[in-house]
Amino acid sequence: MKILVSISKSPDTTSKIAFTDNNTKFDENGVQYIVNPYDEWYALVRALEIKETIGGNVTIITVGNAADEAIIRKALAIGADDAVRVDADPTDAYYTAMQIADYAKANGFDLVLTGKETINYNGSQVGGMIAESLDLPFISQATKLDVNGSTLTLEREIVGGLEVVEVALPAVVSCAKGMAEQRIPNMRGIMAARTKPLQIVAPIAVDSMTTYVSYTMPNAKSACKMIDPTNMDELVELLHNEAKVI
């Protein structure tokens, strides 16, 4: 089983979010990058579990620059076999997806796993775009994934419920919470990661389809109004007449 897992960096969840250059650029000053949680905790770990039960190979791919090799090493330390870095700035989801799809097409994978979304841009775009570009079925937001020979059995979230589906390989799956448990890399994994193969490939020419023109921060909240815990009638009155939400 050949599995490709796309991994993205995202700012550590406690990062202060600020912008520079007249609010046109994310301020990376002091920002620590981590592996996007959905990619690491669910997609990568489930890929490793599948490999451990039925054998195979887990390749990780990221579209990013040299500084992103820290997250690649982390993913290798958790247990991926080898890594690919497409040497480019991921300008938008389309650009990113076309790079990954191109690599996947040329190298042939049974299964491509992505995270459900990146926690910085929250687009939920890249996985579906890879699938369309490869003309493969796409199961999004899967919370469970099992391989039975040449088919996958998955549980996925649907509007207001859950659905169990079956799909033939090859396929693209985006991974959500429930699929696996986070793994902490051990010393042996960290040592091994240093010598695992990392291939750097040049990007293909693609035009981005979207541009982030500028950013704004939400308005600061006005001071919180404190309510006497024994007077819930007052709260209800305020929610009705002042806030007008009930």
Binding site: T13, T14, I17, Y38, Y94, I119, Y121, N122, G123, S124, Q125, V126, G127, G128, M129, A131, E132, S133, P137, F138, S140, Q141, T153, R156, E157, I158, V159, G160, G161, V164, V165, E166, V167, G178, D207, M209, T210, T211, Y212, V213, S214, Y215, T216, M217, P218, K221, S222, K225, M226, I227, P229, T230, M232, D233, L235, V236, L239, H240, A243, V245
Partner: protein, 314 residues
């Protein structure tokens, strides 16, 4: 300018469907709706009130396979020469809109929270709601996926023409074995009112008072991440940076500290009420109304007050 709006009509017409038709009306001259499945034609015609002139319905597919749905929506877009395609940013859109973007070479703006600005950019949530980004599309055709509860549906009257449509869905490789739908629950991302609780509730046996308040208000229930992780509540109720991001009109949080990762998923809420025993809980900084008190006493009291209010206003 012709706009195509996709709606999921499998369980009647949800508010989110009315929102996207209204959105389409405000972005284009003529709005055509595309849907699939067995919805009643008379029901679909009522979308005319929100601005749709025509509703195309492909009854050959249910909409469970993203690949088929993409083909159907693409044929509808081509048949009307759509320059804008609008989705509600739900689980179907998250699977289908990116595929459609590649198929039609149309830029996708996902998670829109407002109508396009005068300069053509559209605001979206980024960094899990900690900031907004203004996004521009570089292609002729654009796709916008609108976060639920971002605009209000506006009915003006009128009725839409409903026509059968063959979108050449093709074959599917996805087989649905089983569907589990909780009865009568309000889907969290669409809910206008949400009651949420965290580790301060001590154990799953204490959720009765959360559910009672939710029922009294007609609200959905949610929880913090540790509560879903320990298994006190189902995963789909987990809100925050690594859970569901919501923007209801009212978010009531009881026994939740207000960690930055939790706030990331809920700070788009219009009004936040925080109930916490600790006056130093960070959540109070993000709240509109705060109650320093024990959730075990405050929640039942609030439920009584809501019931009294509802009884009096009827």
């Amino acid at each position: 300018m012709s706009t195509l709006v996709y709606i999921n009509s499998s369980n009647g017409l949800h508010k989110s469907a009315l929102e996207v038709v209204t959105y389409g009306k405000k972005t284009g001259d003529s709005v055509t709706v595309i849907t699939t499945g067995n919805a009643d034609a008379a029901l679909l015609a009522t979308l005319g009130a929100y601005g749709a002139t025509k509703v195309l319905v492909d009854r050959s597919v249910s909409g469970q396979d993203a690949q088929q749905l993409t083909r159907v929506i693409a044929s509808a877009a081509e048949s009307i020469g759509a320059t804008t395609i609008v989705f509600s940013h739900d689980l179907i859109a998250k699977a289908v809109a990116p595929r459609l973007s590649v198929r039609l070479k149309a830029g996708l703006i996902s998670g829109a929270i407002a109508l396009p600005s005068a300069d053509g950019t559209v605001n979206v949530n980024v960094f899990s709601g900690k900031a907004f980004g203004a996004v521009k599309v570089n292609s002729t055709v654009k796709i916008i996926s609108l976060l639920p509860n971002s605009i209000q549906p506006e009915a003006a009257g009128g009725s839409a023409d409903v026509a059968e449509f063959n979108g050449n869905a093709g074959s599917t490789s996805v087989k649905v074995l089983n569907t589990k739908k909780p009865e009568g629950e309000i889907p969290l991302p669409e809910a206008e009112l949400v009651v949420s609780a965290g580790r301060g509730l001590k154990g799953p046996e204490n959720w009765g008072m959360v559910e009672e308040l939710a029922t009294a208000l007609g609200a959905a229930t949610a929880c913090s991440r540790p509560v879903a992780d320990i298994g006190w509540r189902p995963h789909h109720e987990h809100v925050g940076q690594t859970g569901v991001a919501i923007r209801p009109n009212l978010y009531i949080a009881a026994g939740i500290s207000g960690a930055i990762q939790h706030l990331a998923g809920v700070n788009g809420s219009k009004v936040i009420v925080v109930i916490n025993t600790d006056s130093e809980a960070p959540f109070f900084k993000a709240a509109d109304y705060g109650i320093i008190g024990d959730a075990f006493e405050v929640l039942p009291r609030l439920t009584e007050a809501v019931k009294k209010f509802k009884a009096a206003s009827h």
